[in-house]
Each structure stands twice: as C-alpha cells, then as structure tokens.
Symmetry: C2
Subunit: 355 residues, 2 copies
C-alpha cells in the first residue's frame, strides 16, 4: 500500500536533510584541513538532532547564546557547550551552576568585571571551576573588551578569583575582519601568557567569512559558525554558498492575485520576519527570478512580478529566507525532507528559549 | 510570611493588565457610542484570557487570521469568530469545517472564485452553511476585490453556491483611508442589495484610525482592531495613544557597556523583531529619552546614548516595542502584572499558530 502523501499546510519551514548534512560535512572538513576545532552555534537550528549530527561529523562541541538553549541541548545529550554570552542575575547564575553540574564541559564568557565577579560568586562553592573566556571586540562592535590590554587585565582578574578559571579568548568579528582578529588576538594572547596564564582557546567565528577561517600558525584554535548549517539568501548574496546549499525553505501558498503582476502569499512577517540584512525584498522565490517579495504584513506577503510570471491562487511557492536563523525560531516544528522526498515533523527544540 | 518576589529573567514581555482593561473598555465605549459592533482581532494578544475580557466588555465576537488561532480560541470557549483570511487546501478546509461544527458562529472571507468554490465544496454536506464575507481592497493594497462591481459579482457567486451563504463585506483599509472605505462599501452594498441579496455586515478595521471609526448612518456595521489592546510605539508616534496606554513592555538587562555612550542589552531581534514600521530605532527605552536602539542582532540590542545616560551593566531597562503584535508572538508566555504589582505567568495560547 502506498502511504498517502502528507499535505504540508502552509506557511511551513521545510528543511532538506541531505543539504544540511552536506553543509555540516563540508565545513567540518575545512576546519580539519586548517587546524581549527569547529564549535557550531546552535542558535540557527536549535535542534538536538542537528547538534548531534555536527558532533558526529567531528565538531568539538557546540555554542549556545542562551542558558535556555544549553539546557535543552544538555537534556538532549550534548555535553561540551560554550555559552558565548555575558550571564547576569541570580536566577540565571543559579541555572548556569546547575547546568555545569550535569555537563562534562561547560564554559562561559565575560567582557567586564561585573560579569566576572558574578560568575565567581556563583561558582565559588561549585565542585569544579567554570571556564571563562574573555570576549574581545575585534571590530564587530557588539560586546567585547576594546583592547588587548583590557583582555589581559580581565584574564588576570578571572585567574585571581575563586570558582572560575581563565579559558581563553573569543570574538565575534566584523564581516571581512579576520585580519583584525589575528592582530588583536596575537597581542592579547602574548600578553596573557607573559603573565604566566595559559590561553588554551582562541575562538573566532561567523558564517559569512567561514571559508577564510585559518588557524594562522595556531593562534586561532577554534571557529564558531551557525548559519552554515542551513545557509540562506544573505549568504548566497555574499557568495558564501550557492542556492542549492540552502537547506531551509518556507513553503507558502498564493491566496490572492488581486491584480495583474501581484500575488499575496500566506507567509508574512510572523514566519519570514522583516530581517532584510541589507537585501532588497523579504526572500528569494525559487523558480521565479523576476518575483520580488516587496512587502510583508503579519500574515501576508506581497509578491510583485511581471504579469507573465503566472502565479495563480492555490499555487505553492518556495522561498529561501533572507536570514534563516530568525526564521527557524518562528516555528515550533519544521518538516524534515529526506533525500528520497519523505517528510517528517522535526521539533525545533530550543525555539523561543530567550533567557 | 512575605512571599519572595519573582525574579524576571530577561528578556521578557511584561503586560500591565490594568492598562489592557482600560484600552479594551475605552474603545468598546467608542464603538458603542458610534453604532458599531466591535470584533477585536486576537492576532495581537493571542490569549484566551484577553479575548474573554474583550467579549465581557461588549465585543460581538473576535477576529482571527489563521485557523490555528481560531482552534485555540474555540478550545478556550470563544464561539463567535470571523477568520478574515482566504482559506485554501484540503487540509485547511477540513479543519475549517470541523471547527464550524463546534462553533456557534464561524464566518470566513473570500476575494476570488477559487476560494469561494473551495469553501462551497468543503461545506456542501455540512449541517449549516458557512457565512462568507467578500474582502474588498479599499486602498490597503493587500487582499481584496478591486472594485464594487467585483464585490457584487462575488457576492452573487457565493449566494448561488451550496454550503455557503453571503455574510457581508469586509476590508482592511489603508491608514487614513476611512473615506475610501465608505465610498467603496456604499456602492458595493447598494449593488448587492439591488440583486436581492442581503448584506448584513460591513466590517472595517485597523487600530491606527480607530478613533475615527463611525457607522456613517449604518453603512459600516462592525470594526476590527487588534493592536489597541496593548498599543505600541507605532501608535504613539501616530498619536493614536499615549505612552501610558502601552500595556506591553520588554524588560531587558544591560549585559555590557563596551564603550562610553553604548550599552548592549540582552534583547535582540528574536524578541523585539526588526519591524521598524517606518520608525527610527527598534523601540522606545522608557525613562531614557536620548537612548536609541540603533541595532539588533539575534540576541543583542545596541543602545546608543549620551555618556551621561548612565546605563550600567546589570541594570534593567523597559522597552516599548515598535510593533507589539509581532513581539507578543515571539514568547511562549508573558508576565502579567496586576494593578498592585503582582506578577504571574500568562501563556500566549496561540503563539506560532501559523496555519
């Protein structure tokens, strides 16, 4: 008996597993070939299933941004986790300590004294010290100490306090900023080692520049990337990947063709999000190169195209999102499509784990 | 014994119930005073709790955009629902019919023949016909028939088909487009009635223009508004409400002050969303009029402000979001703050109900 095909009710996120596995494998090989450990960021897929695939392919562990994400991953059996985020507040520090007690290797970061002191207090009576990396602003202009001197000073503070141990340096670089990373990290690492403090890890990251990731003679030890697992329109536009490397697509239905050259789809900002990442339009309509997703309301997307584009009411379209990391976070579950076309539901385990 | 205060782990959505109830009551009175039935759109709050408060205040029923939202509301005891969206596909039509069977008053909309014919087929053997309103594009340029003539033609098609019954006209107008609504609806309604078809409902909507909502001598019978329940920065900027009418705030923590005049908060695009709605910056920081949320990453917000603004690591800030409807959809639950300052968790029942 042939099973009835599953009807995908739109809008929905469909993830092609073969493409995911290819993306994981290819970048793992790049890291292996360039003397880098790979610590993928799970903020893109938020699924234990894919975190395990990354570990199985050779990743050294994973990166999380939020304790809630890490809790889900530990529950799922992942035990080497960097939480690459300043943790503050009694509630979160308590959760972090509980998590450390049931994880083989948990590490955190800090870029200021308040965070360092809080981590020390929280782990003062713990059975093992928490490894803390110093976050450095190498040009990304987000968090991070502003100079190698500040990195050295903070590493000394970490080394001097109870409950925590200096674990190394990390940065989220600007796009195109690999040279700045190297300059900053070389100085900071040398200064820290001059103080007699070991600096075992220097962690860089970012999917846009991932194919340029190098260890530079051992200065950079680790690379964190998230988006590469699925890829998206922003990475295609940056020539980091090709359309066929994009594993995640939003399937939407044309619900109205109010006038010639205009189609309304049932995917709006509550699934595609309004993230533009500098691009024109809210996604790429596969197979319709002249179609432009010109506007989004919460539950409507407006596609403008030539009248000959032939979008008809009831037709399904596939959209490669501008920014897959925020899109995957909109759905409680996605459809996982196997290489032979079968689909099954996949829970987005850490969706909405905001804190 | 004084109970320990609950620590809000950030980022979090906090909703002030007193403000919500005031917002609900005030607009209900406006509708009552102006001969309009109010059918609030639940896409903003997605909570049975608030839908019931709206009904209790006098609303005639509710509006949903997705069948999934309506299913949650029916499960919660709400029984008069308009699904203001073209429904297509066997799966959804089946769900719609099941829902109609356990609802007192369910109605839908259509703006084209394909949708009308699908609804008719799905309800041909139902115990009661489905009421179908014709969606009209009165200038909002989203879905909707493009002329009163097309509205008349579609109402005739609905009236002629089995399983469905013509229920009236609906529109989502352009901001400032109330006059266009009246012109379109007057012509369409007259033409439909000339065909011997009753047109009991003419439904308009939109929070931005809600204080201008009028029945115009009975031509407009019903008004749909969603955002008014919480209000947001976009409605303050349009002078539709004041800051103190904004019931929903994101509480975030300053996690880093990497340099003078710059603070990084733990609320990024995965809670605030990148919706700008034409505004500058990604939200209003309460009590910091010179602070500007200049950029968002997924889990980081960058606040730029004068160095004297005094934002310090560990400090909590309150943010009125640009667009509360998409923000409430990012969280599985919110904190509900009572008039006396107690807080309790409130599930966002229909969060992520995308189809």
């Amino acid at each position: 008996m042939i099973p009835k095909p599953i009807e995908i009710e739109t809008p929905a996120l469909v993830i092609r597993e073969e493409v995911v596995l290819k993306n994981i494998d290819r970048f793992q090989r790049h890291c292996d070939d360039n003397g880098l450990k790979l610590r993928p960021h799970v903020k893109t897929h938020k699924c234990v299933h894919f975190a395990k695939a990354q570990i199985a392919a050779g990743a050294t562990g994973i990166t999380c941004q939020k304790i809630g994400e890490a809790e889900v991953m530990v529950d799922g059996g992942i035990h080497d986790i960097l939480i690459a985020y300043n943790i503050l507040g009694d509630g979160k520090l308590g959760r972090l300590r509980s998590l450390a007690e049931r994880t083989k290797a948990l590490s955190g970061v800090a870029d200021n004294d308040v965070v360092v002191d809080g981590l020390s207090r929280a782990f003062e009576t713990a059975s093992r010290p928490l490894l803390v990396l110093v976050e450095c602003d190498t040009g990304g202009h987000r968090c991070g100490v502003q100079s190698p001197e500040r990195a050295i000073a903070l590493s000394r503070r970490i080394s001097a306090l109870p409950g925590i141990r200096f674990g190394g340096l990390m940065t989220y670089p600007a796009i195109g900023g690999q040279r700045d990373v190297l300059a900053f990290m070389t100085l900071a690492k040398a200064g820290i080692e001059e103080c007699g403090i070991a600096c075992p890890v220097v962690s860089s990251g970012g999917s846009p520049d991932m194919w340029h990731a190098r260890s530079h003679g051992g200065t950079i030890t680790e690379y964190r990337a998230g988006t590469y697992v699925f890829n998206d329109r922003s990475l295609v536009e940056r020539a980091t990947c090709a359309w066929e490397d994009c594993a995640g697509r939003i399937v939407a239905t044309v619900v109205s063709v109010p006038s010639a050259g205009k189609a309304i789809i049932d995917a709006g900002s509550k699934i595609l999000t309004t993230d533009l990442l500098g691009l024109d339009g809210f996604g790429h309509v596969v197979g319709h190169p002249h179609a432009r997703i010109a506007g989004l309301n919460e539950e409507h997307g407006t596609i403008l195209c030539g009248p000959d584009e032939g979008l008809e009411v009831g037709e399904q379209v596939n959209i490669v999102p501008n920014h897959i990391c925020v899109v995957a976070n909109m759905v409680d579950s996605a459809w996982l499509e196997s290489g032979t076309g079968e689909i099954s539901l996949l829970k987005i385990d850490a969706r909405g784990k905001l804190s």
